[in-house]
Amino acid sequence: MKLTQRALLGATVSFALAGAALAETTITVATVNNGDMVRMQGLMDDFYAKHPDIKVEWVTLEENVLRQRVTTDIATKGGQFDVMTIGTYEVPIWGKQGWLVSLNDLPAEYDVDDLLPAMRGGLTVDGELYAAPFYGESSMVMYRTDLMEAAGLTMPEAPTWADIKTAAAAMTDKSKEQYGICLRGKAGWGENMAFLTAMSNSYGARWFDENWQPQFNSDAWKATLTDYLALMNEYGPPGASNNGFNENLSLFNQGKCGMWIDATVAASFVTGKESTVADKVGFALAPDNGLGKRGNWLWAWSLAIPAGTEKADAAKSFVAWATSKEYLEVVAGKEGWANVPPGTRTSLYENPEYQKVPFAKMTLDSINLADPTNPTVDPVPYVGVQFVAIPEFQGIATMTGQIFSAALAGSTSLEDALAQAQSVTTAEMTKAGYIK
């Protein structure tokens, strides 16, 4: 009796396995609606040719909706996605929770050692690689060479904030809707707070001291915010408190910004076919203040596989393909090297073809300059350049983002904004038990 049962079971299992090998596996991939991701959806023929047994179902969402959907799903183990697009902020937190499938066993030809060390480090928890970078970015200054020339100025390769201010003043001509500088102002931890936190690092400010005490009452934060508000109020575009990455990109492409300090990945857009100023853009490192740290961040949109998915193997094949060297070549073949997803592989930056791309070197230099474990001048208890990799950060930075965006809109004074940020952060950290 037992034997028959076991035999039956065995037969069923082997039958099921055979069936699985023959049948098509459909994996659901959640992605953000950024240009590089959307481009991938058009290049799937290459993947299907290599993996005829896997079918990919896309769920493309706007960044905030995406983040909220995938977080709810993974935290409640809803199992709706087989591959998720997540950022450098989520990976260490989720990895520590055991929510992600380790990618340490990717095949040798994937050449994991080729990943840029900064990126790989950010996606590794306790020696386990939990996500593969699809594209990586730092931030840098993008500026209009023609306007600088007209103003009789040259942009140093490694400018200071004082240089930025001079250039912004010289390039602003509001009557022509030409604004010296465009920066993020839209509230959100991934919007204005990402920029402001990175900027504050170059002013020697930090989120928390070693005892997790919030530092918004420090002089360094005050100096950061003072300069930010002065720059934006005098030389920024109207409506800046609602401008995030996308809005600024659109303004820059229309030729309305003299400078824009933002993600390096924007370089391929501002020199691309939708840009009206494509041939007039120069690049420089994010500014500093002579304190040894620059205001540039580190981020990677990465592909991760939630633990518990039954289709981990198919998901891994997809992740390996999408973040491989071959994929870069596929994109280069179809769209040119400038449109390859940047910032993930050393070999890309050693490729002589790619070195001809005007922003390649500046992107790599910026990425190499960012140090998530040592983001600012003073020591900090946290990891992350433009964020603090603790679960509470999203909530806190969302609130402080609102406050600073109100300061930019002019509805709150600088002092009040900092005081409010300090009290909100203190309250949340107390509630979360960091401050005893």
């Binding site: 609606n33 960044e63 709706q80 857009f269 939708e274």
Partner: protein, 276 residues
């Protein structure tokens, strides 16, 4: 008594009404126009927009990127399904509340309405857990269920007010003729209430079609309706006015056309008992 209206007065009123009507309609008209422009032209000044060349570029791109038809079918199934089920549950309920009112009928009605005031965001996590446990995530059945419950109070109320307008004597007469309860509802009441039922149906299809919280949260791909289709165009990188306009037009067009063609039916029953 026929009322005479001077032609001047009629002209003035016509001009005024058309101006206001066009103003109210303008935002919709504008996205329809922008959908047929190139991205570069869509951000220009209105004058330049109007006189730039027309193109199907954005529609092509949207069609290439997302499977419009699948989202559309999901929207149809979900909004129609939830409305029909809600009607089936609500018709007997509204009948008994209208013709056999108890002391508590009014309170019951108000309580039903008050269940609609629960903020959906506050119960998302409990709902997500329930859906996960019942295997309803990303299923049309699950969404139909939720939307049925969300719209049930409004459906009951609309039908209730409509049924109340029907004179009780007719039902009495039917009853004297020996009609049972079932045939009373099926053959006497329902035909008389067709306009009310039709407009209830229309209103609820519209509300369900436009519901954008649960439909976005509880679906991923298989059951995703048009609200999710829009969510992938809402603020992408680069210029997006034309693509967003094209996608928006595609998302609202079906319901707009349905609404226009059936506006007479919609209006006739959309009184909530306001007309006495």
């Amino acid at each position: 008594m026929a009322r005479k209206v001077s032609n001047t007065r009629k002209t003035v009123i016509t001009a005024l009404a058309w101006t206001i009507g066009l103003l109210i309609f303008f935002p919709i008209l504008w996205i329809i126009i922008l959908g047929f422009k190139s991205e570069g032209d869509a951000i220009k000044t209105p004058f330049e927009v109007l006189f730039s060349s027309w193109t199907f570029e954005s529609y092509h791109e949207v069609q290439e990127r997302s499977d419009y038809f699948r989202h559309f079918m999901n929207s149809v199934i979900i909004s129609l399904g939830s409305t029909l089920i809600a009607l089936v549950i609500a018709i007997p309920a509204a009948w008994s509340m209208a013709f056999v009112p108890g002391r508590r009928t009014k309170d019951l009605l108000m309580w039903m309405l008050s269940t609609k005031m629960m903020p959906a965001v506050g119960v998302l996590v409990p709902m997500y857990l329930l859906f996960r446990d019942f295997g309803l995530l990303d299923s049309r059945a699950g969404l139909v269920g939720v939307l049925t419950l969300i719209n049930l109070p409004i459906v009951v109320w609309m039908l209730y007010t409509y049924f109340k307008e029907i004179p009780g004597e007719i039902l009495e007469a039917a009853r004297m003729d020996g009609a049972g309860l079932k045939s009373e509802i099926l053959y006497v009441l329902t035909p008389m209430a067709i306009p009310g039922i039709a407009s209830t149906l229309l209103l609820n299809v519209i509300l369900s079609w436009n519901e954008a919280f649960w439909t976005l949260q509880l679906t991923t791909s298989k059951a995703a309706p048009l609200t999710q289709f829009i969510a992938s165009y809402s603020s992408p990188e680069g210029l997006f006015y034309a693509k967003l306009s094209a996608a928006s037009t595609m998302a609202i067009a079906p319901i707009l056309i349905l609404g226009w063609f059936s506006q007479k039916q919609l209006v006739r029953g959309l009184t909530f008992g306001a007309v006495k």
